[in-house]
């Protein structure tokens, strides 16, 4: 089983990112679940969502304690939350950032999701859309296949720019 924890702020689409990822994994023929950890509805607060991907049905509902991968959609969250907590030794970190980030003991990666979204003017209610480009980045990392990523995006979003930003993120992401 592969467990991913996604850090973001309310209103940035972190929950949808988890759902997109799970949907893409299902299209890959895997089993997947996506879960947010909710407080009451509130924009701007740090939130986490969880994704589990496995070859067998997933029977775990409790929070992911030892993720294999951590995704940080809003780097400012790292000032208030220990995003690396529980991350398995040698686990992967992917940060939405224009600059490289080093996390000792982990496989660090970065991609400028915000920049990619802004370039396509993919902005809703003042927030750049981060959840569709991040799926492209994850496809490059081999978490989901490119075809399934695109299929999932098209199922959940009608605006084709969402596929474009995923493709751009795929290009810009290192494998």
């Amino acid at each position: 089983m592969f467990e991913i924890r996604i850090h973001s702020r309310g209103g940035q689409g972190g929950v949808t990112a988890a759902r997109l990822l799970a949907l893409a994994a299902i299209h890959d023929g895997k089993y997947a679940t996506a879960a947010p950890f909710y407080g009451a509805e509130r924009r701007g607060a740090p939130i986490v969502s969880f994704v589990r991907i496995d070859d067998r049905p997933i029977r775990i509902y409790s929070q992911i304690k030892k993720p294999d991968m951590v995704i940080v959609l809003d780097a400012s969250v790292m000032d208030v939350v220990d995003v690396l907590q529980g991350l398995k030794a040698g686990g992967r970190v992917l940060v939405n950032s224009a600059h490289p980030r080093e996390f000792k003991g982990f496989v660090s990666g970065h991609v400028d999701l915000t920049g990619i979204a802004l370039k396509e003017n993919l902005v809703v209610a003042g927030s750049p859309i981060l959840n569709t480009p991040v799926i492209g980045a994850l496809a490059k990392q081999g978490i989901v296949s490119v075809d399934s990523a695109k299929k999932a995006i098209r199922e959940m979003f009608s605006d084709e720019r969402n596929v474009k930003v995923a493709e751009t993120a795929y290009e810009e992401m290192s494998a």
């Binding site: 209103g11 407080g39 009451a40 509805e41 509130r42 924009r43 701007g44 607060a45 209610a125 003042g126």
Partner: protein
């Protein structure tokens, strides 16, 4: 218990005295809402509550049913408000306040009891308790801050949602009119009621201070523009509130012992209103609204303003 036969005349002289003392209220600097609430950016509820508490002062208990304010308080073991807050079940703010007020007064305490509820908890599920508390002449202030939907649970329609507004349970626009809770309260003949708007905090402050000088049930209905609910960007809450008043969609007024006074801002709006479209256009919840619905809204606004103008002019 107040003797109903002598109530009005005793009250009026006491009240006039207080009014003389408080001709130009200074807004106190003390804050009763501490930093780090859980409010959304641009929240009109917390803006309004800030001035409500400044007007009420420390000898105050807030009775809060399920609503955005329940969340804004923050999570145990912290509370963001520097007055006692009693959280209570959704339907029963006014009933709880009724019991609390009676208990305080029986003990000789003058503590302000303020039921502070959203539109859902007032117009819909809370209306029975509120009507009962008003009918019994309860000595308390009921404040309804109105973001025109069930905000805490994610913006479902309430009785306070205006005609044509999109919510998650009226995805193509509400097909029923906004419930006129102020008229319903007026029918209970309270000593004081008022409408206010978070975009006019000084006006709100004065009204709360005034309401608290009355013994008996008083009511203030505050328009609270809501960025996630009304779908506009978070820095525009005050602007939205002003547009609501300037278009006549929201009217600022007071009734003291049933005598209506329309506020200056609304009088100006009656004389020279801005087009309703100017208020509706910046809000995502009115996006794609049928022009026929806009026409109905305009007619209802005109009718309401005429009715209020006539009421004010009547001897």
């Amino acid at each position: 218990m107040i003797d109903p036969r002598s109530h009005d005349s005793v009250h009026r002289s006491f009240h006039n005295h207080l009014q003389e003392l408080n001709t130009i209220p200074e807004i106190p600097k003390e804050e009763f809402i501490l930093k780090c609430t859980s409010a959304c950016a641009g929240c009109s509820d917390s803006l309004a509550l800030r001035y409500v508490l400044k007007a009420a002062g420390p000898d105050t208990v807030l009775v809060v049913p399920a609503c955005c304010t329940s969340v804004i308080q923050g999570i145990y073991p912290n509370t963001a408000f520097n007055v006692p807050v009693y959280n209570i079940a959704f339907a029963s703010a006014a009933a709880c306040a009724s019991g609390m007020s009676n208990a305080f007064r029986a003990a000789g305490k003058k503590t302000n009891v303020i039921a502070y509820a959203g539109d859902g908890g007032t117009l819909d599920i809370g209306i029975q308790a509120m009507s009962g508390a008003f009918e019994r002449g309860t000595d308390f202030l009921y404040i309804c801050y109105d973001n025109e939907a069930y905000g805490n649970t994610g913006m479902q329609r309430s009785g306070g949602t205006p005609l044509g507004a999109r919510t998650t349970t009226t995805p193509t626009g509400k097909t029923d009119n906004k419930k006129d809770i102020d008229a319903i309260i007026a029918a209970h003949d309270p000593p004081y009621q008022a409408t206010a708007c978070a975009a006019y905090p000084q006006d709100l402050f004065k009204k709360v201070a005034k309401a608290l000088t009355f013994r008996g049930p008083t009511f203030i209905h505050i328009l609270a523009p809501c960025p996630p609910g009304w779908r506009y960007s978070t820095e525009k809450s005050v602007e939205m509130g002003k547009l609501a008043v300037k278009s006549g969609m929201w009217v600022l007024y007071e009734r003291e012992y049933g005598k209506l006074t329309i506020g200056a801002q609304s009088k100006a709006a009656i004389k020279k209103p801005i087009p309703l479209e100017d208020y509706l256009a910046p809000q995502g919840r009115f996006k794609g609204i049928d022009p026929k619905t806009v026409e109905i809204l305009k007619q209802r606004i005109a009718k309401n303003l005429a009715k209020l103008t006539a009421e004010e002019a009547a001897p």
